[in-house]
Symmetry: C2
Subunit: 240 residues, 2 copies
């Protein structure tokens, strides 16, 4: 950790989380395509809670608990047979999720959450709740670590760009930025005028396009569609 | 690895090297402040070989081997007592190193080298040999992995910017770039007009300034001062 004042840092992938003492930070988990976007949208739309799990089997196990969970699981862009819906944010409408608890299968996002477990607090960020999240972060008296879920433990541009967007909101505050934060904010300067266009060139963007989820991508890049801030309480993400 | 064609990828820190099958790549090790800059300068100036080691003790052990090694070790910006010189590139002049084998203590650089051991080939890059290195890489028929030694296993801007500079030379070729490569090249666009100025803002730059090595930093940012390409053969870096 950078010392001397509150710091605002970016962990570029979950593989780098062991380098941080997460207990010193408020952690923001970022998995733009699509987990944290869907979570923000679902909590905004009245989901009582969202439980992120890593494996489809873990998700399916909630069916046995018999409490009317909604189960979300997807592999290769298709809803897994027997599940209620997949990972598309479009599934998280008020009609579907209000008052319900959703169990969501997400590999990268869950991994990042799990490794951040000891943080002072864990909240969820996406372009959907950018300003609400940033305004809340501004009034906290803690150092902040923006954790990019990335792609298979490596760096991706979309999560980093979002980290840069949060820094843009906070950088006039008295934070010490580390090198990844400086880089993320600089990349955001390059992409901010049309984030969708900027991300066209990424390998992950191409991969997602092949899955036929261009509409999801466009949805996830909408800024300030929501104001709810999901926060981790125990195993569940609930509204702050 | 990105598939389909030759790829040009950037590993942002040694902590992410386990995500790559290094045996599929020519690896370029990058540790701008100051190990790979000093190595390029030393090999250019006629050092017969440079042996990078992690620990001062390991370096000192070469004295026992009695073959007239030059020993370079530094801690907190000072030459360690009893050693021939520190890590400043200014020590690697023809008068001092021509015909000699230098044993160099470098933590981040050695770590990156060690983890890349199985690569098809390992070469050393710095701004000093940028064009010579890039021209050589261009005529290789292999995928290329630019490995940033980083700072204590985390991302730093100077190594990433150099990776972006190499990509600038190669990107018209038929390479597939991964997200870190795209980001590194974009950051290079922001910094290329005055890399020293751009790096002023980094935490590492501040740290190095405190050590009183501004001259070393300016030296390491000179482009194309040298043409030698150091390559790893066994334990030794020699001229390609």
């Amino acid at each position: 950790m950078v010392t001397g004042t509150k710091s605002l840092e970016v962990c570029l992938t979950p593989a780098l989380l062991p380098l941080y003492n997460v207990e010193n930070y408020i952690v923001v988990i970022i998995d733009i395509f699509r987990a944290t976007s869907s979570i923000c949208y679902g909590i905004e739309n009245g989901a009582e809670a969202i439980i992120p799990v890593s494996e489809v089997e873990e998700c399916a196990a909630y069916r046995e608990k018999g409490m009317g969970y909604l189960l979300a699981a997807e592999r290769n862009g298709e809803v897994v047979s027997g599940f209620d819906f997949g990972n598309s944010p479009f599934a998280y409408t008020p009609e579907k999720v209000a008052g319900k608890t959703v169990v969501l299968t997400t590999t990268n996002g869950t991994h990042a959450l799990h490794l951040s477990r000891k943080a002072k607090r864990i909240v969820i960020g996406s372009f959907l709740n950018l300003t609400a999240l940033s305004n809340w972060l501004k009034i906290q008296h803690e150092s902040i670590l923006l954790v990019c879920a990335g792609w298979k433990n490596n760096f991706n541009l979309e999560d980093t760009l979002f980290a840069g967007a949060v820094i843009e909101h906070l950088k006039e505050g008295k934070y010490k930025l580390d090198d990844p934060a400086l880089a993320a904010n600089d990349l955001y300067q390059l992409g901010k005028h049309d984030i969708g266009e900027y991300l066209q060139k990424t390998s992950h963007g191409e991969r997602l396009k092949k899955l036929g989820i261009e509409k999801d991508i466009a949805f996830c890049l909408q800024v300030d569609l929501t104001t709810a801030i999901p926060v981790l309480e125990g195993e569940k993400l609930v509204k702050l």
